[in-house]
């Protein structure tokens, strides 16, 4: 291995790779032309924007030139698919689009597995992995000196654009027959809220539909410096978020509501936010100061209070606790779509005896809540529940997670220590406390290791390394509760705060599976994601150039090493799922979805 550092090009920067060039398919790559930009600035909302409000370091024209791209769709082409994770919003430039809320079969949406490596390629990789750590093919990087396509003079030119903008006042959810008219913006909810797309949108023609795709980094900056866009998107966010929240609740999905009941529900439901959107920063500070997190978390609904409505979690997480002695103990948590207060409301509506709220609900970091007022619950939801299940035998799975978690909590309290360690309830209150306190509840693929089974053979680490060019993407080390370790591996969070602030969009949700992955080509190694990750699961590494005998890549101007962010990608491009879990000979390792407490409980109590 040669240890000579070789310059490979400029230090990576935001906009090294304009959004228009960020296509896997080479034929689609196209930079914004001068006339494209002129066209855009003649249209709303860009024609209404005040360029002078944007800072010199972040000019409006540069944002549009680099964070947007024009895309063409034929009539019937799917633009976004329900259930996908997306990092961009779309503005319709020419033509119409149609939003399809339900009724489409996944096969009709053309769903297929991601671009997995072929079996042969996977096996070949085992024998051709690099000997040095973090070796890359620098020719793939856009800033490589051999690539002349990124001429900065061709992108930034319009400085005096006309200002002011106003988007179409009609959101797609309100449009007749779900037609999204020209000039509308859609997909902003998924892009900004880091949630799945709630509808499928197809190009409705006539002819070719032309759209402007805006990646969320650009949208965020446009919103930051343009009040009109910000107010408009906030309003859309509120309207569409409300509907989306109802769709995410298993309870609301299960009951049969007529149009009037839907109208009443939408009109009377309230939308509230607790905690901070950038909760990870506060969390890290509190942890450093070793403060009691529970008491710092905003109370959403308090034990003993009058149940003033059914709460549905729209985004984020909430911790459920109960008073115990001088403090509170955590016995569960709620995630997206879960409900709180249902048992109490059902009890109160069916008896004369009025029960207060039995558990305190707190925002674990950041929680968006939809509150269905008690009166609306009694008039709309409860009658619909009785109509759906006339015998009053409500299936637990449709009642949200609350019932299940109450049950788990009850059994937990009864379980306690019985003298035999094997019979101990490991998913009890102390475990819930551990998971909520450390915010592990955020994970959808959390690496859990049972230390009573783990022989420390490191087969998991080797398996991971073999699929990533000899670089393990996790550390078999982490916080321990009892004999269970949460290892330092990306948890592929439900609320991936690492994605906040990535200037290039290199860290993103993969299409289909929604795994949080990093595009090594567009990563500029700024470390924003690594600093944001509250679990320290993203590592910055110095990369080496395979075409230069594995020498470290350096910035020729500053002489500094080129850095890239790396993390577990859940073996998204390999067959068979995460190699770590399949490689464990003793079934000591699993990737657990923290939202599925029953599965988790089953695994913990094997």
């Amino acid at each position: 291995m040669v240890e000579v550092n070789t310059p490979v090009g400029d230090k990576p920067k935001r906009w090294d790779l304009p959004f228009g060039m960020d296509f896997t398919n080479e034929a689609e790559r196209r930079e914004m032309s001068f006339s494209d930009l002129n066209d855009l600035f003649a249209k709303e909302p860009f024609s209404e924007m005040d360029a002078s409000r944007f800072p010199d370091s972040l000019p409006l024209a540069s944002i549009v030139a680099n964070d947007t791209r024009i895309r063409l769709y034929r009539e019937g082409d799917a633009i976004v698919r329900q259930g996908d994770y997306g990092n961009s919003a779309f503005l319709i430039l020419d033509g119409d689009c149609r939003a399809i809320i339900e009724g489409l079969d996944p096969a009709q949406l053309g769903r297929q597995a991601g671009h997995s490596k072929s079996l042969l390629k996977s096996v070949k990789g085992l024998f051709t992995n690099a000997l040095a750590p973090e070796v890359r093919d620098s020719r793939l990087y856009p800033q490589h000196r051999d690539k002349a396509v990124f001429d900065p003079s061709g992108t930034v030119f319009v400085q005096d654009v006309p200002n002011i903008l106003e988007l179409s006042p009609e959101s797609y959810s309100e449009a007749r027959h779900n037609i999204i008219p020209e000039g509308s913006l859609f997909g902003e909810l998924a892009a900004l809220g880091r949630v799945q797309r709630s509808v499928t949108v197809v190009a409705a023609g006539p002819g070719t539909t032309r759209l402007l795709e805006i990646r969320w980094q650009g949208l965020r900056d446009l919103m930051k410096y343009d009040n009109g866009l910000r107010d408009h998107i906030n309003e859309l966010f509120r309207q569409n978020g409300l509907k989306g929240a109802f769709r995410m609740s298993p309870l609301i999905q299960a009951i049969d509501l007529d149009e009037d009941q839907w109208d009443q529900l939408l009109a009377e439901a309230e939308f509230e936010t607790f905690g901070s959107y950038d909760w990870h920063g506060t969390y890290q500070q509190l942890r450093k100061r070793d403060e009691d997190l529970l008491t710092q978390e905003p109370v959403v609904q308090e034990e003993g209070q009058y149940p003033n409505g059914l709460l549905i979690i729209r985004a984020g997480f909430a911790r459920m606790s109960r008073r115990h002695g001088a403090g509170e103990y955590t016995f569960g948590y709620l995630g997206i779509g879960d409900v709180h207060g249902l048992q109490e409301l059902m009890h109160n509506v069916s008896t004369d005896d009025h029960s207060p709220i039995q558990t305190t609900l707190r925002a674990a970091g950041y929680t968006d809540i939809v509150r269905v007022p008690t009166r609306t619950f009694e008039q709309v939801i409860y009658p619909a529940m009785m109509k759906t299940w006339p015998d009053g035998n409500f299936p637990e799975k449709f009642l949200g997670e609350t019932m299940e978690r109450h049950k788990t909590a009850m059994s937990t309290r009864r379980a306690s220590w019985r003298g035999d360690r094997r019979k101990r309830e490991f998913s009890g209150a102390p475990m819930m406390e551990f998971l909520a306190e450390n915010r592990y509840i955020n994970g959808t693929a959390t690496m859990l290791i049972d230390l009573d089974r783990c022989t420390r053979c490191d087969d998991c680490v080797r398996a991971c390394a073999s699929g990533h060019n000899n670089n393990p993407r996790f550390i078999r080390h982490g916080k321990i509760h009892d004999h269970h370790m949460i290892a330092n591996a990306c948890m592929h969070c439900a609320d991936p705060v690492c994605m906040i602030g990535c200037p290039t969009g290199a860290i993103h949700r993969s299409e289909g599976g929604g795994e949080v992955v990093i595009n090594d080509v567009t990563c500029i190694g700024c470390g924003t994601c690594a600093n944001s990750c509250p679990y320290e699961n993203i590592r910055l590494v110095n990369v080496r150039d395979q075409s230069q005998d594995d020498a470290l890549m350096v910035d020729p101007v500053k002489g500094k090493a080129i850095v890239k962010a790396t993390k577990c990608d859940l073996c998204v491009d390999h067959h068979g799922g995460p190699a770590c879990a399949r490689a464990c000979p003793h079934d000591a390792l699993t990737r657990a979805d923290m939202d599925d407490l029953l599965d988790l409980s089953e695994w913990l109590n094997r």
């Binding site: 990789g125 085992l126 230390l451 022989t455 420390r456 699929g467 068979g576 000979p585 003793h586």
Partner: protein, 265 residues
């Protein structure tokens, strides 16, 4: 599945065992080839571990099969040898190798089922390869404490204690065998000795002695992990290479059998 495989093997061999319609030489040949096939399959588990990505069942499933087929191999081996020790040199070596292989497998099974629980119930979780680093850090801190003690008090009690006991204790992994049988005798004595000298220390040195006590405990826990994690790794270094030797002997055995028995006739 493994139980079914074992049942199948027994079902095939039972008629042989009672000698019904089949000659003894057929029993030996069939059980020999069956044993060879099972040993080859058992050996392929290590290959499966290297082939991470092809969908070849989970490693834990392979281990289950490995264990049950390993037991089946023992049964077939008994049929094959009729429970007797052979007389030829090569056959004796093969017999001994197979027996050692089985013994190491059973020993490994015992270790993997018992050691993890002891590891998770004592000391901090530590990666084996990083133990020398932590040991070094503890040693450095102890030396700082001793220097501080020399500087701040006229007494040389702690320095003498370091020279007499700690220097050797901190220099490398200690009490490996004792840790394998979970004995804490040495560290108990060491800490007891330190506490005994407490009455001769001034207040400042007492604080340092308390920290030393913690560090001795920490080092002892590191040694505990070193010994036990090391044993978990070591038995594989014995079990896996021996597989290759066994396979070589098996091939030689088959060649010789065919050359001198069937070839001769």
């Amino acid at each position: 599945m493994s139980i079914a495989a074992l049942a199948l093997v027994l079902l095939i061999l039972t008629p042989y065992a009672i000698g019904y319609r089949i000659a003894f030489s057929d029993v030996v040949v069939t059980s020999g080839w069956l044993l060879f096939a099972v040993v080859v399959f058992l050996s392929s588990y290590n290959l499966r571990k290297k082939l991470t990505y092809p969908p070849l069942l989970k490693s834990s499933t392979w281990l289950q099969m490995h264990i049950y087929l390993g037991i089946a191999a023992m049964v077939i081996f008994l049929f094959h040898t009729s429970g007797k020790v052979p007389t030829g040199h090569l056959d004796i070596a093969l017999y001994a190798l197979f027996t050692l292989m089985v013994a190491s497998g059973l020993f490994g099974f015992y270790l993997t089922r018992t050691i993890p629980t002891t590891l998770s119930s004592r000391g901090n979780e530590v990666i084996f390869e990083r133990i020398p680093l932590f040991r070094r850090q503890i040693k450095d801190r102890v030396e700082q404490i001793i220097l501080q003690s020399i500087e701040q008090s006229a007494s040389s009690i702690l320095a003498e204690f370091y020279e007499s006991y700690l220097m050797y204790f901190l220099a490398g992994p200690r009490n490996v065998l004792l840790h394998l049988v979970r004995s804490e005798r040495t560290s108990y004595r060491l800490r007891h000795e330190l506490r005994e000298s407490d009455r001769y220390l001034d207040e400042q040195d007492k604080v340092l002695a308390a920290e030393l006590d913690d560090l001795i405990k920490l080092k002892d826990d590191l040694d505990f992990h070193y010994a036990r994690q090391g044993l978990l790794k070591l038995w594989l270094f014995f079990h896996i290479p021996m597989t290759l030797v066994l396979l070589m002997f098996l091939v030689a055995h088959i060649v010789l059998i065919y050359a001198f028995t069937y070839g001769g006739s």
